[in-house]
């Protein structure tokens, strides 16, 4: 039988280092470890983009309105 010190001094490749070797499909628990601060950053970016899209639409609509108004004046 091995002496107890052998167990503590197993060569590096044989030390206990568990890790999944099957598909790590379940992300639920990883999900909980994500920094919550990042979510706020993502939400802010989302709203910035939504605002940018609406600004572009508003500018476009104003230009179209201007063109139509000018055309109407010309008759």
């Amino acid at each position: 039988m091995p002496r107890p010190e052998h167990i503590a001094e197993l060569p590096s490749p044989f030390r206990w280092r568990p890790g999944p070797i099957t598909d790590s499909i379940d992300m639920e628990f990883v999900l909980q470890e994500i920094d919550p601060g990042l979510r706020a950053q993502v939400m802010a970016a989302t709203f910035e983009n939504v605002a940018a899209v609406h600004r572009t639409r508003a500018e476009g609509a104003a230009k179209i309105a201007g063109i139509l108004a000018a055309a109407a004046k010309r008759g």
Partner: protein, 555 residues
């Protein structure tokens, strides 16, 4: 224009590589867990075209990644996103790089960006484009257009924002001949299981089924071309030989969406693969794991696969109720799943499985039924009990259904839903912390399953190893005890909660039990390893560069 990567049907093709072309620098950022075959394929195709590729692990963090990239300013930085929940982590890297003045073209690929490119572009303003569906040809095309300074916005297979509007270019067909791709680039040391190096490999891409919780089929069906593509057995064997000789690999993890054993064609393919493994002398030198549907598991076929080195099978069992399997569109029955597990146990092949204790159809009764199913499946201790809750990922049919039903909750980084019985939301919320001592990366169930995989690996390679049966019996006893403890915790807490008693949802007894179980496992395992250390060291250091294996492909 000539085709450089053959096998692409009637789609846009690439200019042939020219000797006078200035190579582009590309950095690929992604997870390197179990290797990352997606990134490996992208890097190999870029390198084949003469470009310079750096592969970076996103877990290195923004500062370290910036150190490597800021001074080099690669032409393109490509982010490889596997799970949508990691999007903020990638974005943090991208915004840090932009803040440091990195002006490279930023693009992203993967299942979620492909299927939900509009959401990704909206939430990740640092991106210039999204590469949709299989990225090998599209990324090369994008890189070379940018390198030439010609318009990249017409690249087929991408999406981007222009003036706040989403632009999608024509979709690029899937790669029809997977053997036309070079072997994935693997510039890292393989992970090891008890000293035996392990790397992933693909024999096919695509899945013919339509499980409602999975985005794989929508990913492949939305792009033009045949959905399931299988490599030639000869080429798979060539890559196995290459991994064995050049990386010293002894354990190969086939990461196919669904290992291609379906029907008569699948059996013929498997017969040829196994025959070639024997011919190449790989059997006894290499063992392998597959992921497949339970319906493929049939005694004679799997006996043949086991004799050629198959030691572990992962199956998406997912539910222990007929209603759950129906909702998830698994096209399987409870009994079929149990039969497959039983066959694998009889054959001495280790079983691994995915199981969703909670899904959108769950009720207190179905959770109880699911626990009963798990007890039937692994109550004997042949594998540790694990489970999860189904999450409505982007691009999955069930997410659309939940949205229509008004039950979709959470956001991109935390997709969620309401159960039909709202009391179950509360039960689940309270339950999760109390099962973490088992169901977590460092949880007891995960440790036990790793111990099983390690034991199967060691006993396959190290002939003459002593105390295998004793260790196996002790491990089985400990696993059965741990499983039963978890099942009882679930059943008792469920019943008490229904009666308004929350006292059973207590973390402390679970933590104390699992800590003790972990210590007992470590003691058993270390004694077994220490007892056989000389033989193991000799087996692990066996020379992989010689031996009766085929000449590997050079590229």
């Amino acid at each position: 224009m000539g085709k450089v990567l053959p096998g692409v049907p009637d789609g846009p093709c690439l200019d042939p590589p020219r000797g006078d072309r200035v190579p582009a620098e590309v950095a690929l950022v992604g997870y390197q867990d179990q290797g990352n075959l997606g990134m490996g394929y992208l890097a190999a195709v870029l390198q084949e075209r003469g470009h310079i590729v750096q592969m970076i692990d996103v877990r290195d963090g923004p500062e370290k990644i910036a150190e490597r990239l800021a001074s080099r300013q690669p032409l393109v930085v490509g982010f490889s996103l596997i799970f949508q929940v990691f999007l903020p982590q990638f974005r943090r890297v991208a915004s840090h790089l932009r803040a440091l003045g990195v002006t490279s073209h930023f693009t992203i690929g993967g299942h979620f960006p492909s299927l939900c490119h509009d959401e990704v572009l909206a939430q990740f303003p640092e991106l210039d484009s999204v590469v949709r569906y299989e990225g090998e040809l599209t990324l090369v095309d994008l890189v070379e257009r940018l390198n030439r300074g010609t318009g990249w916005r017409d690249t087929p297979g991408i999406a981007y924002l222009r003036g706040g509007q989403i632009v999608e270019t024509e979709p690029r067909p899937l790669v029809q001949d997977l053997d036309s791709l070079p072997f994935p680039y693997r510039p890292f040391d393989p992970e090891q299981i008890c000293g035996f190096p392990t790397l992933p490999l693909l024999a096919s891409r695509g899945c013919a089924r339509r499980c409602t919780f999975c985005s794989i089929h929508t990913f492949y069906r939305t792009a033009p071309g045949k959905v399931v593509r299988v490599r030639k057995p000869a080429k798979v064997i060539e890559e196995m030989c290459y991994l064995h000789r050049h990386h010293g690999v002894r354990v190969i993890l086939f990461q196919d969406d669904d290992f291609p054993l379906w029907g008569r064609a699948g059996r013929r393919w498997a017969d040829e693969l196994v025959g070639r493994m024997h011919d190449a002398g790989l059997v006894d030198r290499v063992i392998w794991k597959i992921s497949c549907r339970a319906e493929y598991v049939e005694h004679d076929l799997f006996a043949k696969l086991r004799d050629a080195g198959l030691f572990l099978v992962y199956m998406g069992i997912e539910s222990g109720t007929e209603e759950g399997l129906e909702i998830l569109n698994k096209e399987m029955t409870v009994e079929q799943n149990l039969e497959a597990v039983e066959t694998l146990k009889q054959l001495g092949i280790q079983v691994s499985y995915g199981f969703m204790l909670f899904d959108p159809s769950s009720s207190f009764e179905s959770v109880r039924e699911n626990i009963g199913f798990l007890r039937r499946m692994v109550g004997d201790g042949r594998a540790a009990a694990t489970f999860s809750r189904m999450l409505p990922y982007g691009g999955t049919p069930i997410r659309d259904t939940l949205k229509k039903e008004g039950r979709l909750r959470g956001d991109l980084t935390r997709p969620d839903y309401d159960f039909l019985d709202l009391r179950l939301n509360e039960y689940h919320r309270l339950l999760v912390p109390t099962v973490r001592p088992w169901i977590h990366k460092q949880g007891l169930s995960y440790e036990l399953n790793y111990a099983w995989d390690e034991l199967e690996t060691v006993s396959r390679f190290a002939r003459g190893v002593e105390g295998v049966e004793e260790y196996r019996a002790a491990l089985r006893w400990l696993t059965a005890e741990s499983n039963e403890r978890l099942f009882r915790h679930l059943e008792e807490s469920l019943q008490a909660f229904e009666q308004g008693d929350r006292s059973k949802l207590d973390l402390e007894p679970a933590r104390a039990y699992c800590e003790d179980g972990s210590k007992r496992l470590l003691d058993l395992r270390n004694r077994f390893i220490a007892h056989n250390i000389d033989l193991l060291m000799e087996t692990v250091s066996a020379d992989c560069t010689s031996g009766p294996v085929m000449v590997p492909q050079t590229h």
